[in-house]
């Protein structure tokens, strides 16, 4: 067992699971989506990206790209949350939550692709 391999897979899978946890629930119900979870998903996604830096294997570039997509979507979602919570009078309404959750849904898809590639690679290379 190799420590680096465990960390690699750990962060990629954790990014997916946190993202999924946030996404779960009614799309426009603020009670179902916690800001902390979004923050955690974003943080883990960023860590996963950094870990993928410098991967020179065949799939390395694609893996990095999926992570960057997830980061972008989650960053945008966080920005909308922060803006509506602090800069608008209405606060985080159902509509705002809906757009935040749909953005995180996009990130979820990117993370799913990332995990799929990881699994496929692990199956073809049995080391």
């Amino acid at each position: 067992m190799n420590f680096e391999k465990v960390m690699f897979a750990f962060f990629i899978v954790l990014a997916l699971t946190l993202n999924f946890g946030f996404f779960l629930g009614d799309i426009d119900n603020p009670d179902h989506h916690h800001a902390m979870e979004l923050g955690a998903a974003l943080a883990v996604s960023l860590i996963a990206t950094v870990i993928k830096f410098g991967d020179r294997s065949q799939m390395g570039a694609v893996l990095l790209a999926t992570s960057l997509v997830a980061d972008l979507q989650l960053l945008l979602a966080s920005f909308i949350w922060a803006y509506s919570a602090y800069a608008t009078d209405a606060g985080v309404t159902g509509e705002v939550v809906a757009s935040i959750v749909s953005l995180s849904g996009g990130a979820l898809l990117a993370n799913l692709v990332s995990v799929t590639i990881l699994v496929a690679e692990t199956i073809t290379i049995r080391r």
Binding site: E4, K5, D55, R56, S57, I125
Partner: protein, 566 residues
Amino acid sequence: MNDIIWLTMRRMRTPLIVLILVYSFSVLGLVMIPGVDASGREFHMDYLHAGYFIAIMATTIGFGEFPEVFTAAQRLYVFIIIFPNVIAWLYSIGTILSLFLDPQFRGVLHRTQFARRIHWISGGFYIVCGFGNTGSMIVRGLMKRGITAVILEREQEIIHSMALEDDISHLPALAGDVTDRRLLELAGLRKDNCLGIMAITNEDHANLTIAITSKLLRPELPVLARSETRRVSANMASFGTEERVDPYTIFAERLYLALTSPTKYLVQDWLISVPGSELRTEMNPPSGRWIIAGLGRFGSRIAPQLEKAGMPYTVIDVHPDRVDNREGSVLGRGTEADTLVLAGVEDAVGIIAGTGDDMDNLSIIMTALELNPNLFAVGRQEIKQNDELFDTSGADLVARRSLIVARRILAMATTPLLRVFLSHLVLEEESFARKVKARLETVLHGRAPNLWMDDLSRETAAAISIAAKEKVVIRLEHITHNLRMEKPEKLDCVCLLLERGALRLFLPGPRQELLEGDRLLFAGRGSARRLIRWTLTDPNSLISFATGRQHPRGAIGRWLARNHAG
């Protein structure tokens, strides 16, 4: 494209002028003749309506809509102009249709399409002049290795029949005079991604012309030419034709090899066989007196090789001048039993049926084997359709002209290093051949190998240059293992040759260090080829295997590993 427009314009000139005249006259008349509208007032048709009406009338489309109901005068006028209009249209359309069917026009159209398709070829391609049996074998072989071919052929019919064959119908092909410089240029002779020219028509002189033309226009482009006479071969060599393939000489040299060193012959045969075909087993042509029936182009090349191998021979030939100055020779055809008996078939060890006629050769082999069943029979086959006949004739060795040429040219075109290896094999000690044979036997499992070259350049073998930067030594054994397995297994392949600049290492050992820029010639299974290519682009697997430690895949992991170790 210009040719097509120009040709169309020239042919359409008269019909178009007629059409314009009739049309404008008709429109003018219709505008001038007054009509009556629904409320009974007089009105004149404008140009738009008149033009529209004449157009639908003349083309006989006739939507049946009038701007207004026509007066008698208008109807009379239309009645008259209907006929010239319809005739002018039919005339133009007829001319255009006949133009499309015109052989000259179709020829130009075909050439234009041909040139455009060649313009869009992105990878390397060969120009193949002559698409007979040899040509089609070569083109298919090239395609298997991912190389495109542009086909030029004299016979229009062969090009037409190409369209029926699924695997090659998409290749650009043109019928025409293959020796024509313009045709060669059209086929992409001057393009940068043209890898070379193959002159393999049936006529030596045409091949010679193609070789000269291409050497004059692009001296650096390799020319692979077929030539069956010594005069033409020498001529081609004089201006630097890279490869002159004379099937008879090749066969004679191989027969010599079979007579003097069966192992070398066998290894050579394995390496140039069609990949995947069954391997030939050891063949031992006997020592003793041979009979050569037919001392033409084929026999005259065999005879000196037999002499060189120290074998006496008796000649049977119909030409008195070929027989006269050779002692013990027999004048005759060799197809009859009495000439064979006269030549001493009973105590000969082998017979070479080398006349120019397939049926004669079959007859010679069958008659001779009847008289002496222990004979080693060699047959010359000229026509591909007789494959089965020769297979069942009992001949031990058949010289198939087109197959010999195709195999040689394919090998030279796709793996140039093979020539280097084969000539080394012929010159080396017998022990070298035995070593190669032993190595090949362990990986081939009775099937002829694929041959391929791996260029360890930065583009195709990124893993090698990355390993060099990390100061990891990569050896041959590292890339010849399947690194996808938990316990890497040895791949079914043998590295025959390593070329590094001017240095050439034959049969390098597994501990041989590899450097960026090396070129490797492999023989083995196709699966090994794929896995080697994969390994060469995957630095993580390669470095992990070479160092025996898991190589961190991310930059942070590598940084940590370095600091940890330091």
